[in-house]
Amino acid sequence: MLQVILKRIAIAIPVILIVASITFFLVRMAPGGPFDAEKVVPPQVMKNLNAVYNLDAPLVVQYKDYMFNLIQGDFGPSFRYPGRSVTEMIFTGLPVTFELAFYAIIVAMIIGGLAGIIAAVRRNTLLDYIPMTIAMIGICMPTFLLGPLLILYFGIHLEVLPVSGWGSLTGDKILPSITLGAAYAAYIARLSRGGMLETLSQDYIRTARAKGLSEYKVIINHALQGGLVPVVSFLGPAVAGLIGGSFVVETIFQIPGLGRFYVEAAFNRDYTMILGTTIFFSTLIIFFNLLSDIAVLLMNPRARSEA
């Protein structure tokens, strides 16, 4: 298995470099530069600005310089925020987005997992239909619809929760985590139900039941593991999607995370920030996919032999 991991990492590195290169040229193709502002500046000043940031060198030279720095782990200075380096900004926003994603996944796994398992065990009864329909709502309702609804109800109408912020006011982490986790809870509910159903129909489950084990023990000791396999293998892409989906939640709830930084950087043509964040996210996703694959292999001996 170590071989598999090493092989995957070996492939990942050129991938990241390719991603960096493509993004580099893509961003430069965009009309409008980082220093374009409403009040037009004299050409001399524009020249000076471009010189400070090496923007007057030929594109290939800039590319070479950038990649050289990148390999050493230097993402460069932010174009938009003088005095801030991209690394600094990424590591300011990252812990926040991470925490948000973490809580969202916890919410999703608890609510989704429980709902799915109950629905599978009590198949084709009300306890199956109701959670699954609610799960469907979670999948079909956009985050930017759910978020404001929750805020309106709990924040402004009932006044029990803050309407924005992360870590400033008591309880301000609850609504964002639920909003972001909702869609994933729904998916996980469906996945865990499906996985559980498949596992529950296996022979060894029938054997366990025949041996006289209580239903409870059957589920906990035998079915759960198999039922959770699809959930775990979903976690990799889920994290990737969460990081993407955090943009919306961070905007609605005024959370200082990396997602908001990224969208603003794109609009501001903060070249280095865009590049840095893209590369960073790519690395993160590749890493999580790897982790998730390993977890699946560990949990499911059958898959291990297929690998």
């Binding site: 965009a30 001399q44 000043v45 005095g83 309407v163 008591t170």
Partner: protein
């Protein structure tokens, strides 16, 4: 199990939160102001930044020779406690307040201003806002690298507390310029301790390093989350400052900011969401503020375009717009229709130009230009940056031109940077634009449409217009000056290189706890006059 989870969560939430005391409530005793600041500032270096959120922060942290008068009108003394203007209007002598200090206790002397102005005019710093100082003799040449000898620039320290400034022309509004942050002083030792004079990326603005001379000092700076400033005991007028702290929140989403205000998390917001404004107006919301703002919303016309270069076409387009309907039914937030380029009422300037809503006249002008009933008229593009308000107005304009002139236009929205790039290179036919005055004088508007001004972007070059403005700038006598300016304005409106639509208002929400806050046309609310009281 799942069914018991939600009630349990509820209970936890209710117990955990206890009694809800909002930040606005607790700010009252502690004299902490919670300020919605629109977006994360680019930085805190007054010589590098260019925006409005930065302006709000910088008037707390630093101070120029003068400060804006919160009740409008002439500027009040800042670092300079008095000044003398020579008879020819070209030489200013400022007498600095001897109590003026930096936030680390150092005395503020005239040489500090000389060094600071040298810094912002240093070409390699790349300042994007040197305009204010261009009125000073030799400043433009130094900034554009024509000379690298700063002694040719007309600013000198006569002694520690006397600063002499020489201008190119008598500039009657010069005092007003000195409250703009680009003219603020910076602390030389601090700046140089963290980088060279022209190092944009120097770390002197970080909390702990930051030194300046304003009523507040930088306490903490959490990126994209909050900036906190606290009372500066060394400020020369510290006795008058009642606020202990101001917390600035960079909330860019209008709806989020509105909810924060309603939940008692903010004392003042940056804007009011488009959809909420008419509702708040109708409900007589006591927190709603709608105040005249020195800005004009207009459509820029590319006068180099083969069809748009005909004045009659431009006038037809202008006369076919029902501005009253636009402000009452589309923007719906107390804006006023604009019939001139310079907003009326700025420093007593009242332009008498008119733009009638006259579809009949508009059609006949269009016919005279060769496009009777709109036949043969090309499909033009209205360019605007992606934003709901602009889109709604463009849609209304599109329909008005269709109904009243029989012509079709296409709506093109681009993101901010692309829009700017296209305007700068003249790659547009009609583009949405706005101009906010930098200081309270008509010149800040009319100047932009002179030939060869970077901010002109219309291709309109009128020698008579230029001459009139030159005349206006070379006299100090108000009524004569305004007479020239009015003539220029009339000429402008008769040529219509830009089509004015409405005069801006500042719309925001203000908690009733905030006192010492007065409406003024350039929207500057100096923190030293503000306090909280219920």
């Amino acid at each position: 199990m799942k069914n018991k989870f939600i009630p349990a969560l509820f209970l936890f939430v209710l117990i955990g939160c206890g009694e809800s005391i909002t930040p606005v409530d607790s700010g009252l005793d502690a004299q902490i102001l919670h300020f919605g600041n629109g977006s994360e500032p680019q930085g805190l270096d007054p010589h590098i930044v260019t925006g409005v959120p930065e302006h709000h922060l910088l008037i707390s942290l630093c101070e120029g020779l003068t400060i804006a008068n919160p009740k409008g009108g002439k500027n009040l003394p800042g670092v300079a406690e008095s000044w003398v203007i020579s008879p020819d209007g070209k030489t200013y002598t400022f007498y600095l307040n001897k109590n003026a200090k930096w936030s680390n206790g150092d005395s503020l002397i005239a040489e500090d201003f000389v060094w600071s102005w040298m810094r912002i005019l240093t070409p390699s710093l790349g300042s994007q806002y040197p305009d204010m100082l261009y009125y000073v003799k030799g400043a433009a040449e130094f900034h554009q690298g024509i000379t690298d000898d700063f002694s040719t620039v007309g600013v000198k320290a006569i002694n520690d507390h006397e600063l002499r400034v020489e201008l190119n022309n008598p500039t009657p509004f010069f005092i007003l310029l000195l409250s703009h942050y680009s003219t603020y002083p910076v602390h030389k030792e601090t700046v140089l301790a963290h980088g060279a004079i022209d190092d944009r990326n120097g770390l002197w603005t970080r909390p702990g390093n930051f030194v300046c001379n304003g009523p507040m000092n930088l306490k903490s700076w959490e990126l994209n989350k909050q900036i906190t400033v606290e009372k500066n005991p060394f400020y020369w007028d510290a006795d008058r400052v009642k606020l202990n702290e101001i917390r600035y929140y960079p909330v860019s989403n209008e709806s989020t900011e509105d909810r924060m205000f309603r939940a008692g998390q903010l004392h003042v917001t940056n804007v009011v969401p488009l959809e909420k404004c008419p509702v708040y107006i109708e409900d007589n919301n006591p927190n709603l503020r709608i105040e005249p703002y020195m800005g004009t919303y207009f459509y820029r016309v590319n006068t180099l375009h083969p069809v748009l270069k005909d004045k009659k076409v431009r006038l037809a387009l202008a006369y076919a717009l029902n501005r009253t309907q636009i402000v009452e039914k589309v923007s719906k937030c107390g804006q006023k229709p604009a019939y001139s380029f310079t907003p009326p009422g700025s420093a007593g300037y009242e332009p008498d130009t008119e733009i009638p809503f006259d579809p009949v006249l508009a059609r006949s002008l269009l016919a005279e230009a060769g496009f009777k009933d709109g036949i043969g008229f090309p499909v033009l593009e209205i360019l605007f940056n992606t934003q709901e308000g602009h889109r709604k107005i463009a849609l209304a304009v599109q329909q008005m031109w269709q109904e009243n002139l029989g012509i079709s236009v296409q709506l093109v929205n681009q993101d901010w940077k692309v829009y700017l790039a296209r305007e700068m290179t003249g790659d547009f036919q009609i583009s949405r634009a706005g101009w906010i005055g930098d200081y309270e004088d008509p010149n800040t508007f009319l100047d932009t449409l002179r030939p060869n001004r970077g901010n002109n972007k219309t291709g309109w070059e009128n020698k008579e217009y230029d001459r009139l403005l030159e005349l206006a700038n070379s006299t100090n006598e108000q009524s004569l000056r305004y007479e020239y300016l009015m003539q220029a304005e009339r000429l402008l409106i008769s040529e219509m290189p830009i089509i004015p639509i409405y005069t801006y208002v500042r719309q925001y929400q203000l908690s009733s706890d905030v006192k010492g806050w007065y409406p003024n046309i350039i929207d500057t609310h100096h923190p030293k006059f503000i306090y909280l009281e219920r």
